[in-house]
Symmetry: C2
Subunit: 419 residues, 2 copies
C-alpha cells in the first residue's frame, strides 16, 4: 500500500507496551507497509525525529515481544485543545505530509486517546488524509470502554506474587523480629493495582491482611486497631497501600504526612509513613517496600494474558488503520469470566478520551480493607499464565536492543517552545 | 538409625533456605531418620516447640524446594557465650535428650555457626552425644571459607534483573520526565548485593551507572558530578545504593540524613535521601525504589545455581551428621569460573563462626562506583540458570503450605527469660 505508518509510545511505559509495538510492526510488515516510529512519543513527531523500523531485523522486532520499557522512547507531553495548540497540530500534519504518513498509531492512555482524536480532526480540517488509531496501554487500568488495559495484568501479577513471597518471609520472622510489612503500589487515583494484591490471599488470615485504597479515606484509628488485631490473631500483618492514599480532607498522605507539624516535606511515600505510625503507636518492628518502577517493568513476571492482549491490540490497530477506520481504538471485550473469553472490538476514541474508569464499588469489601469475590473474578484471568523472556548464559533476560536508525529530516528544525 | 535429627532455621530467611530444608528432610528420609524441626529456630528448641516433619507428605516436602520464606519459622535470637548463657545451653541439651535428638542441623549465618559450635561443646561437657552440623545461608554472602552462601545467588539475580528492567523504563521516560532512578539494596556492612547490580551493565553507558558501596565513604560532590555527567552523556542515570552507605565519619546516611539540621528522624532509607539530593542540587526529576523483603523472597526469579547450592548443602549436612562429623559445615568450594565448577567440602565451624567475608577490594572499580572484571567472573555463575516454581491456574506460584504438626512436649514449660 502507498504511504507509511507512524507509531508512537506515550505516557508511563509498561512491561508489555513493546509487545504491542512488536505486533504493530510485524502486522504492518505482512501488509508491506513501512513503519516509522516517533522517538520519545509525540515529541519526536513534532521534532521530526523519526526512526525507520525497517532497519531492524525480524529477530530484533520479535524480541520486543518480551522486552519491557518503551523501545522508541515515550513522553509525558500533553497537547491541549486545537484552539490552544493549533500550531503544534499543524506541525504534526506537516511532518506527516513530509514523510507520507497515512496512518498514525498512538500507544497510550487517556491523554493519548484525546490527542489522537484531535489529530484526526485537524487532518480533516487541513485536507490531509490521515487515519488515526489509538492503541490502549496503561498499568493504571483506568481506560474507559475496554475491559482492561494492556500493562495492567502484568503489574497485577507482579504485585500479587510479590505480596505472597514477601509475606512468607514476614511470617518466618514474626516471632522475634518483623511483625508488620507495608508495601506501597502505584495507583494515584484508582486502586486497581492495590486490588490485585488481594489475589495473594484466600482467607482472612492470608496476606495481604489490609489493603488501603485511594477510594477510601484513611482512618488512622481503625487502621491501627486492625493492624493490632491481625498481629494478635495471626502473629504478623501485611499491609498494601496505594500511593494515592488520602486523608478525610482528600489530601494525599504522601504530601501531608501524618505527624509532621512543622510542614517539612516528607521524602518518602506512604509506606514509610504508615510503617512509622505502626511503630510509634503499636511498637511493632516493621519493614516496608516501595517497588516503584520495578512493578511496571517486571517483564520477567508478565502474565501471559496481558502479553496476548498487548499483541492483539497492536495487530488489530494496524488492521483497523489499513481498513481506513479513523479515530477508533481496539478495545478488549470480556465475553466470559470462566472460562475466560475475550475479543477485540473497535470503539470510537471519543468514548475513551478523557474518561477515567474507577474501581467499581462492588470490588471493595464493605469494611474498606479488602477485595470482594467480584473483584477476584475480574482480576484472576488477567494475571493468569506465564510468558517468561528467554535468558542468556549470563543469567539475565535477553532483552531487545534496537538500532533505532533515524530518518533524515525533510523540514526545517522545530523547537517545541514553551506555551 | 537410632535417634532423631533436629533441623532449625535462623536469621533473615532467603528465597532458597527451604530448598536446603527440603534436601535435609529428603536425605534423612532416605536414611530412615526422622526429622523434627524447631518452630522459629532456636527459640522453638528452647521452648520444646518442635514440629514432626514426618506428618507432611513427600509432595509437600518436595514443594519446599521452590518455596521462599522459612517454612518452620526463623528467629533473630543470639545465644551468648557458654558462661553467660549456660542455663540456655543446658536447656537445649535437656530438650535433645527428651526427644532423642542425636543430630542437630542449624541453618543460618555467622551467629548460627557460632551457636552450633557452642552447642557441640556443651553436649560434650554434659556427656550427651550430639552431632552438630551448620548449614550455610545468608543473602549477605558474608560467611567465611565458603565461596558463596545459598540465598545470595537469588538476591543477586533479582537485583541485576530488576536494575536492567527498571532502567529500560527510565530510558524511555528520560526525554520529558524521570532522569534519575535510585534503587536501594540490602547489605548493611558489605556490598555484595550492590555489586551484583553491576551484572546488569556491560559498558559505561549501561545501567547501573553508579553503584554506592558501604565500603566506600559517600562523597556528595563527586556523586553529584557523576550523576550530572551521566545524564548529560546518556540522557538519564541509574544509581544503586547499599542500605549501608556511610559518610566520611563512618555514620550510616540512613540515620544521619544529608540535610536535616533539626535532628529529625528520617523515615526512609538511603534511596529517597539521594533522590532528593539530586533533585535539590541538580533539578532532575527522580524515581526511587526500595524492594526490601521482595529482593530476598523472590523465589520466582531464583538462580538455578543458587537452588542447586542450597540443596547440596542440605544433603551434605545430613550425610556429615550421620557420619558423626561434629562441629562442621558443608562449604561450597569453587573449582573453576569458566566452566563454573564447584564441590562441597566439610569445614570446621570454628573457621566460619564470627568471621565476616568482606567484598574484596579488587571487586570494586578504582573510582569506587562500579565493579571490576574480577567481580563479574565471580558473580556471573551465581546468577546463572532459572528454576521457576510451578504456577497454578490462578496465575500465582504454588508455594508449599506445611501442616507443621507439633510434637507433644515431654518437659515442663520453659519461658525464655530476659537476661
Amino acid at each position: 500500500m502507498r504511504g507509511n505508518l507512524l507509531y508512537a509510545q506515550s505516557g508511563g511505559v509498561t512491561a508489555v507496551i513493546n509487545a504491542s509495538a512488536c505486533a504493530v510492526i510485524e502486522t504492518a510488515r505482512r501488509h508491506k507497509v513501512r513503519v516509522l516510529a516517533a522517538r520519545n512519543g509525540i515529541i519526536g513527531a513534532l521534532r521530526e525525529d523519526l526512526i525507520d523500523t525497517s532497519k531492524d531485523s525480524a529477530a530484533a522486532i520479535a524480541a520486543l515481544r518480551h522486552t519491557p520499557g518503551g523501545a522508541f522512547g515515550s513522553c509525558r507531553f500533553k497537547l491541549k485543545s486545537i484552539e490552544e495548540d493549533r500550531a503544534r497540530y499543524e506541525r504534526l500534519i506537516e511532518v506527516f505530509r513530509a514523510h507520507d504518513i497515512r496512518w498514525f498509531l498512538y500507544n497510550g492512555g487517556n491523554d493519548s486517546a484525546d490527542t489522537s482524536q484531535k489529530i484526526s480532526q485537524v487532518g480533516k480540517a487541513l485536507g490531509y488524509d490521515i487515519t488515526v488509531v489509538g492503541v490502549p496501554k496503561t498499568v493504571d487500568n483506568d481506560l474507559a470502554v475496554t475491559d482492561c488495559c494492556p500493562g495492567f495484568g502484568s503489574v497485577a501479577k507482579y504485585t500479587a506474587v510479590s505480596v505472597l513471597e514477601a509475606s512468607l518471609d514476614v511470617a518466618s520472622m514474626a516471632e522475634s523480629s518483623t511483625k508488620v510489612f507495608v508495601m506501597e503500589v502505584m495507583g494515584r487515583h484508582a486502586g486497581w493495582i492495590a486490588a490485585a494484591a488481594g489475589l495473594a490471599g484466600r482467607t482472612d488470615d492470608d496476606a495481604p491482611h489490609l489493603i488501603l485504597f485511594p477510594e477510601i479515606p484513611f482512618d488512622e484509628t481503625s487502621f491501627l486497631a486492625r493492624v493490632k488485631a491481625t498481629v494478635e490473631r495471626v502473629g504478623w500483618c501485611t499491609v498494601v497501600t496505594s500511593e494515592g492514599l488520602r486523608n478525610r480532607e482528600g489530601r494525599f498522605l504522601s504530601e501531608v504526612g501524618t505527624r509532621d507539624a512543622f510542614g517539612h516535606a516528607q521524602l518518602g511515600g506512604v509506606a514509610p509513613l504508615l510503617a512509622q505510625l505502626v511503630k510509634d503507636r503499636l511498637g511493632y518492628k516493621y519493614h516496608w517496600a516501595m517497588p516503584d518502577y520495578l512493578q511496571r517493568s517486571a517483564r520477567h513476571l508478565s502474565s501471559k494474558t496481558d502479553v496476548d492482549h498487548a499483541c492483539a491490540v497492536g495487530k488489530a490497530a494496524v488492521e483497523l488503520a489499513l481498513a481506513g477506520r479513523n479515530a477508533v481504538m481496539p478495545a478488549i471485550i470480556r465475553q466470559s469470566d470462566a472460562p475466560y473469553r475475550w475479543k477485540i472490538e473497535a470503539v470510537p476514541l471519543e468514548k475513551v478520551a478523557n474518561h477515567e474508569k474507577k474501581l467499581p464499588k462492588g470490588f471493595i469489601r464493605r469494611d474498606g480493607y479488602g477485595i470482594t469475590a467480584a473483584a477476584r473474578r475480574y482480576l484472576e484471568p488477567l494475571v493468569r499464565g506465564e510468558a517468561p523472556p528467554p535468558y542468556g548464559r549470563d543469567g539475565l533476560p535477553k532483552y531487545a536492543r534496537l538500532k533505532n536508525v533515524g530518518v533524515k529530516p525533510r523540514l526545517p528544525a522545530y523547537v517545541i517552545a514553551d506555551r
